[in-house]
């Protein structure tokens, strides 16, 4: 179905310019979406209210540019800094109660499968580390145990940034925050390993410092979630205010944290089923390329 994103001719003269831009030069229904559209196409995210230089907004931009079919995607968000951005994105989204985002996504995915049996519908959960690991851990894990087919993305900033810097499960051991002056006594929760053991078919841990890598991981995760099973991505998006950095230092902070031996060095786990699915996709792409050149 081509050209599904259209504007009613009766409304063209009263719609805001941003909306018209999105319809005319947005990247809906483009088969090769990616960060390369930046600068020339209208992005599916508009002026948000995150802080200047926030690494989370870099990650958000890269994710919105990479999701494979935005016109058929529903995103589920949760309370936190991400909920400041969700009203500004051009993809259907649901704001869940704090912590139950994976439970909502479960119901949504099943309902969409019943309502639209012959159309691909992706569900993507995007929440902070508080919602994913502390308050919503029950819902997160149960959805993986049940092998629910959607992608869970965790924006890991290692504390509760929105409320002033309280200790979270993903905070590193010994870290001092504004509202956690004693320092954390326990290790950072190893959620990627837990996800792997809980039944996720694809797990990745990374930072948002390389757009091409974010694009590749998001596309793989969404496609695997569509066909094989649950997927989990943990992206380091440091809160520059809470770790005491300037607005222009967020990128360097991410690069430092992904150096070899550091806690956010890129790692991914692909289950054998997911690997054979990816191999199939790669072969298909190769065949298409050969067919196009001959």
């Amino acid at each position: 179905m081509a050209n599904r994103i259209q504007i009613n001719k009766e409304f063209v003269d009263i719609m805001p310019q941003d909306y018209l831009d999105l319809v005319e030069s947005g990247t809906f229904e483009s088969p090769n979406r990616g960060w390369k559209d930046f600068g020339t196409a209208t992005e599916l995210i508009a002026e948000h209210s995150l802080c200047a230089g926030c690494p989370e907004s870099i990650a958000f931009r890269h994710i919105m540019a990479s999701i494979p079919n935005p016109e058929d995607t529903v995103m589920v968000g949760s309370t936190g800094c991400t909920s400041l951005v969700f009203p500004m994105i051009a993809v259907h989204n649901i704001h869940s109660l704090f912590g139950n985002q994976n439970a909502i996504a479960t119901g949504l995915k099943r309902a969409l499968a019943v309502r639209f049996p012959d159309r691909i519908k992706d569900v993507i959960v995007l929440a902070g580390d508080g919602a994913t690991v502390d308050i919503g851990l029950d819902m997160t894990l149960q959805s993986w145990f049940r092998k629910e087919r959607f992608t869970t993305i965790c924006f890991d900033n290692e504390l509760y940034a929105n409320t002033g810097g309280q200790e979270s499960g993903l905070m590193q051991k010994g870290f001092l925050a504004k509202m956690a002056p004693v320092g954390k006594r326990f290790d950072k929760v190893r959620l990627p390993e837990i996800a792997r053991e809980s039944g996720c078919d694809y797990v990745a841990i990374m930072t948002a410092s390389k757009p091409s890598l974010v694009e590749k991981v998001i596309k793989q995760a969404v496609l695997i979630a569509r066909e094989v099973g649950p997927t989990y991505i943990q992206i380091y998006t440091p809160c520059i205010l809470e770790i005491g950095k300037q607005s222009m230092e967020g990128l360097q902070e991410m690069r430092t944290s992904e150096a070899p031996g550091e806690r956010f060095k890129f790692r991914e786990f692909i289950s054998p089923e997911a690997q054979s699915f990816l191999d199939g996709l790669a072969e298909k792409k190769k065949a298409e390329k050969i067919a196009a050149t001959t």
Binding site: K36, G39, T40, A46, G53
Partner: protein, 70 residues
């Protein structure tokens, strides 16, 4: 007073394929590519003045962006 980024079109090397500032700007639709001149252009009303574009441009030794007061 509010600081926003400004691109020096002579120093910008977007015509050679550089997209660093466009890639790393945290604001959506804030740095655009002028497809005729092939230079980066800042949409000032969207710029929050974080200086990340200056950092990545200077790190690549292009030095094409500087902050100006508005």
């Amino acid at each position: 007073m509010y600081n926003v980024a400004e691109v020096n079109a002579e120093a910008c090397v977007a015509q050679k394929g550089c997209r660093l500032c466009i890639m790393y700007c945290p604001e959506a639709n804030c740095i655009q590519l002028d497809s005729q001149k092939m230079k980066a252009v800042i949409v000032e009303s969207r710029c929050k003045g974080c200086e990340l574009c200056v950092v990545v441009c200077d790190a690549a030794k292009h030095n094409a962006i500087k902050m100006v007061a508005r």
